[in-house]
Amino acid sequence: MQEIIMPQMGQSVEEAEITQWLKQEGDSVAEGEPIFTIQTDKAEIECESTATGVLRKILVPEEVEVPVLTVVALVGAADEDLPDLAQYAVGTESTPAASPAPTPASEAAAPETAPAPEAAPAAPSEAPVPSAGKGFASPRARAAGKRLDIDARALPGSGPGGRVLEEDVLAYHEAQESVPSTPSARRMAKMEGVDLTAVPASGPRGHVLKEDVRQALASGPAAAAQAPLPEASGEGKVIPLTPMRRIIAERMVQSKFSAPEFYITVEVDMKNAVAFRTSLPHFKPSFNDLVLRATARAIQDFPQVNARWLGDAVEELPDINIGFATALPEGLIVPVIKQIQKKSLQDINRETKELAGKAQAGKLTPEDYSGNTFTVSNLGAFGVDTFTAIINQPDSAILAVGQIKDRVVVIDGGMQIRPIMKLTLSSDHRVLDGAVSAQFMGRLKEILENADF
């Protein structure tokens, strides 16, 4: 019997949901043949079977989000005995309480009544209780923490004054490892410094799920510091978060609270650009393509804009990868044109079309929407004159593009009507200073106004 697992699609993907099984139990399936489609944080992807035989058991039904690398199906010979299915129950995660409980993958995997989470393994009774740390950890403890991916300073310590010792980290690690939990729950707990032994488990057979960790976080001391979240009033329609919605929320909050932004707006006279666009014999780029092309050229003159904040340094990146925000019914996605500095306007035109099409069809791969170094967001199509966008980290700046509209402008002392477009750059002040951003915008304006594509 061979296991089919939920594939890891891109680095940041932790969990995915099978949107559709393309084969049913009893169907035969060959290695390389599409077997199900999944919805990740950002896109829908077709997954191929990694085994040949009969699809004997579907372990994860459609529309249930499971951590990547979870076994989702078993493929084997038609007459082979099925193994004990209980072992595969681990990865199933319940959806939030507000939505109807999903159908369990199988009877065998039906969650048992979740046992009360076990208390942290009791330290030898006579040992002094580690006191809540003041955030001090010995160098050795910190080294162990680094090795095990644990923030030692967040742990209670058994040294003098609550100093965290190596043994505290090791004990914590052992305790965490011994708590039945899903891989994504463990990852989140580690990242956020949540003690799994103290998280009530709601998963099958006492497993702590990622949702449990999230809730522990929300109710933990860290959450308390933030504004309290409102309770559902019961009158409105409660819409459960899609993975994409959740990701957008997390990213935007993170960006807004970490990057000190400032904004610069310029008006661009698009007269020459309009003429240029219609003068091309073989293809007709969109205005957005022109903006992308011009932006790429301006960035080449101001590579500081194409940089990321490393905490203790700033890294200027060699390749210019511009993402362009694309609205979807369920949220938004930012496909990326890689190495745009090497591409012609025609290439850009072709690629934006291709990527936009894939985005609308939910066919973008994680590769398509990662690696951005700069982002352009264009709301011109919605009749917006000017707006400010939130930086799409790890970028250091984002360009917000408004509509092109005829306006009266004064030129050489006389009134004239010109197609005007307003561009607003949001810059991360840790990386960029006003003067650089202003010069960059000046150059961008110049390129567009001279139609120097």
Partner: protein
């Protein structure tokens, strides 16, 4: 005290008088003419030589004076920031002294000794010229000094002066003169091509192949060291005498008086046997220029009218003391001739008061605010060179033109040396880096794997017949019996006996070895470590010294610098202060200050006391470990003590060998194999793993080890903390490998010793380990030292010295709180800070 000297009350109580005979002052009366006629040693040529030597010194010092004051000498421009204590006006004293000194006579000097270096050097060049001189010059620093004066402006044109050309120099001699002047000046200017690679400098420069031994910037420092040199000549039956050139004001220094006493010990003439009987060939030469820096010994800072009077307080011969006219080279030479004969006859020591006058300041910056211009003028009128020149002309030995030729010659010689020694390309500085320059010569690290053997008369009986050897033979070599019982010192070999065994071995295999200190003979040292040695060894190998800690150590330094092997003893560590300079500035420094040319095979045994309170119980290992140039060891078990003293006595470096009085009766309970009967060596600097463990590293030095063992028992049995116990054994050198490996394993470190916590060497180790293994540390290294108080009475010592529970407390409060444990002392950070504020902790 030897039994042969009866203290008879009838004699002691008899009425009598101490008679102090006359001490001659300025009795020399001869003219140059008379000398040339009567004295076969004083030809006309010799007199011209004397004149040349004085003029060379005058020119040399004038050159330095000019460079210091104007940054110029002729065409040479140079800024010299370092010292230049000049002897302008004192040339006759220096040259007169050296007329009768051979290469085998060794002079030791002061901060003001350029003149003596030149005078003695010129004399040696004259004596050695030919193959011997060439061999010295071509081998010294691989011929580098010689090559410098050969390659650049070689000018070997000899002098030919005097009536009937009475004084001529050869090319060979002129090469030697240039070698000498340049080697000296390059050293003064701190150049790698100097006699001591620039590591000695003006106040310390020396060149032993010419019999010129270290000059000392510590006033009076040469008195006891030179005495050690004379001791070496006596004990090793070497030719020649030793001279300490020290200033008049140094007669106020304690170690100078200690040296006078040491050199005059009655035992040399009364108790030492056979060829060894007789006074030390030691001459104390006070260069009496009537001033310290500004203070005046005669009439102001001392009580004597003549320095020579001191002799009458030292021995019945008044030390053959005499005051001579140091302004007249012939007067000094005549005195030296007579005194040297006394010394070689075995009737030393001798004290000479050589009156002279320093015409310029103490150093070129000195404004001479302490003396009348008139006084300086009077002495300038009596200038020794002018006066002697006039006498030469009067005696018909030279014409003015000869004297002028000598002056021109001196200018030529000094100009050449000045040009070369100030030229950075020709005379570079030694590169000083972490592993080049001084670093590799701080220690010479030689081990004599094979000892040279002994001479006839060096021992009094076969080793096996030594009664103590027979006694020890009956004892168990192990401190723990088969049945696990710890054996007492009456049943098993003790710490003291273990040291005795190695020392005895060395006495029977190395004739260079001498041992002395207070009550070392008969008594065997206050703690009887040498008990039984008196029966085996004649006086010249083991003797009692006066209670003169400075001289005990200082003579050891001189003895070792001469190539001997000195084993000296300080009865208590607390007496170390009395020998502070000798330990910290002399014993520690001369290997490196010689540029790596000399070695210091010297071991100083020091016992660390207890029971006797504040001035008899201190562990001062830290003080010694702080001083670069000393090896500092502190074994704690018989096995280690025996092996480590053997290594110390086989090595070429100065070793301070600490022994705890608590341990002299200790049997071997740490090393299960016991104390081997055979001779063996344990390398210095390697700590010993007493016991392995996994949770805590505990490092100790000295007797604290045994209290640490008790702490280990508490920690392991009552608290389940597994302890790795390491005995440091040696502070300097210290191989960190074992300790760092251990800390990497355990993450936790406690260090303990009986030294006061403040500034303890343990903090140095703790700091180093923190650097070497920071990421492995699970807690800060905790130092458990003695209190920063005076040591209290025996009954209260447990409140002062680290106790087992202090170590447990340190673990509990500084590393990890122990379940159900109540600390006995408060070792927390706040208590620590409060005490420090008060100056206690």
């Amino acid at each position: 005290m030897p039994k042969s000297i009866m203290v008879d009350p009838r004699k002691v109580r008899k009425a009598t008088q101490v008679k102090v005979g006359a001490i001659p002052v300025n009795q020399y009366k001869k003219t140059v003419k008379q000398e040339i006629k009567d004295n076969k040693d004083l030809s006309a040529g010799r007199c011209l030589r004397i004149y040349r030597d004085m003029v060379l010194i005058r020119e040399f010092e004038s050159m330095l004076d000019s460079i210091k004051k104007t940054q110029k000498y002729g065409d040479v421009s140079y800024m010299h920031a370092g010292p230049a204590h000049l002897s302008l006006g004192q040339e006759a004293a220096a040259v007169g002294e050296c007329i009768h000194l051979g290469v085998e006579d060794h002079i030791w000097g002061s901060h003001r000794s350029h003149g003596e270096v030149i005078a003695k050097g010129l004399r040696a060049v004259e004596d050695l010229q030919g193959a011997e001189l060439e061999a010295v010059m071509t081998s010294f620093w691989d011929g580098r000094v010689l090559k410098t004066v050969e390659t650049h402006e070689p000018d070997w044109e000899g002098l030919k002066v005097g009536v009937r050309n009475a004084f001529k120099t050869t090319e060979a001699e002129e090469r030697g003169v240039d070698f000498l002047i340049y080697g000296l000046l390059a050293e003064i200017f701190a150049r790698e091509t100097g006699f001591n690679k620039g590591l000695g400098g003006s106040m310390h420069v020396f060149f032993t192949p010419f019999g010129i031994y270290p000059n000392n910037a510590i006033v009076g420092g040469s008195a006891d060291i030179a005495t050690g040199s004379a001791l070496f000549k006596k004990c090793q039956q070497q030719p020649g005498i030793s001279v300490a050139n020290i200033g008049d004001a140094s007669s106020g220094c304690g170690p100078v008086w200690e040296a006078l006493g040491f050199a005059s010990m009655a035992q040399f003439k009364k108790l030492w046997d056979g060829a060894y009987r007789g006074g030390l060939p030691m001459l104390f030469n006070f260069m009496n220029n009537f001033y310290g820096m500004g203070g005046q010994p005669i009439g102001e800072t001392m009580g004597y009218d003549f320095i020579s009077r001191i002799g009458s307080g030292v021995n019945p011969e008044n030390m053959h003391a005499e005051t001579v006219d140091g302004n007249n080279p012939l007067a000094v030479a005549e005195a030296y001739k007579r005194k040297k004969a006394i010394l070689l006859k075995g009737d030393g020591p001798v004290l000479l008061d050589v009156q002279c006058y320093r015409q310029t300041g103490h150093s070129p910056s000195d404004q001479s605010s302490y003396r009348e211009r008139e006084e300086i003028e009077m002495w300038r009128k009596a200038d020794c060179i002018v006066e002697f020149g006039e006498k030469l002309i009067a005696a018909g030995v030279a014409k003015q033109a000869d004297l002028d030729a000598i002056k021109a010659y001196a200018e030529r010689k000094i100009t050449k040396a000045a040009k070369l020694a100030t030229d950075q390309a020709i005379s570079p500085y030694l590169k000083l880096t972490a592993d080049a320059g001084v670093a590799p010569i701080m220690f010479s690290n030689r081990i004599d794997e094979d000892l040279p053997g002994i001479r006839e008369g060096d021992v009094l009986m076969p080793m096996e017949e030594c009664p103590r050897v027979k006694l020890i033979a009956k004892k168990s070599r192990k401190g723990i019996a088969e049945n696990g019982k710890v054996l007492k010192g009456n049943k098993a070999v003790t710490f003291g006996e273990a040291i005795f065994e190695s020392v005895l071995h060395h006495f029977y295999h190395d004739s260079r070895l001498v041992a002395y200190g207070e009550e070392n003979r008969d008594w065997g040292g206050a703690f009887a470590v040498y008990q039984g040695l008196t029966e085996c060894l004649p006086y010249h190998r083991l003797f009692n010294s006066p209670i003169s800690e400075a001289a005990i150590v200082g003579t050891g330094v001189g003895y070792a610098l001469e190539g001997g092997r000195a084993l000296v003893e300080l009865m208590y560590c607390d007496f170390l202060g009395r020998a502070g300079d000798e330990v910290f500035n002399q014993m520690a420094k001369w290997q490196a200050m010689s540029g790596g040319f000399c070695q210091m095979p010297m071991v100083m045994r020091v016992s660390v006391g207890s029971k006797y309170g504040a001035q008899h119980s201190q562990d001062w290992t830290t003080l010694c470990a702080h001083i670069p140039g000393l090896k500092v060891v502190f074994p704690a078990t018989p096995y280690d003590a025996k092996g480590m003293i053997a290594t110390a006595l086989s090595g070429s470096d100065p070793v301070i060998f600490f022994e705890s009085q608590r341990l002299y009766g200790q049997t071997e309970t740490i090393h299960p194999e016991g104390v081997p009967k055979e001779y063996y060596r344990i390398p210095l600097g390697e700590p010993n793993m007493v016991k392995e463990g996994s949770d805590l590293t505990l490092l100790t030095f000295g007797a604290t080890l045994y209290r640490a063992q008790e702490a280990v028992a508490i920690l392991e049995k009552e608290h389940g903390v597994s302890v790795e116990l390491i005995d440091g054994r040696s502070l300097v050198p210290f191989n960190y490998d074992m300790l760092v490996e251990s800390v990497k394993k355990t993450g936790k470190l406690i260090l303990s010793s009986d030294a006061c916590e403040r500034g303890s060497f343990l903090h140095t180790i703790a700091g180093n380990v923190t650097q070497m293994a920071f990421d492995y540390l699970d807690a800060p290294p905790a130092v458990v030292g003695a209190q920063n108080w005076i040591v209290p009475a025996y009954e209260q010592e447990d409140d002062f010295f680290p106790q087992p529970h202090w170590i447990v407390d340190a673990y509990h409060t500084q590393i990890k709180p122990l379940a159900g444990y109540t600390p006995v002392s408060d070792r927390g950070v706040e208590a620590l800070m409060a005490e420090k504020r008060f100056g206690i902790c």
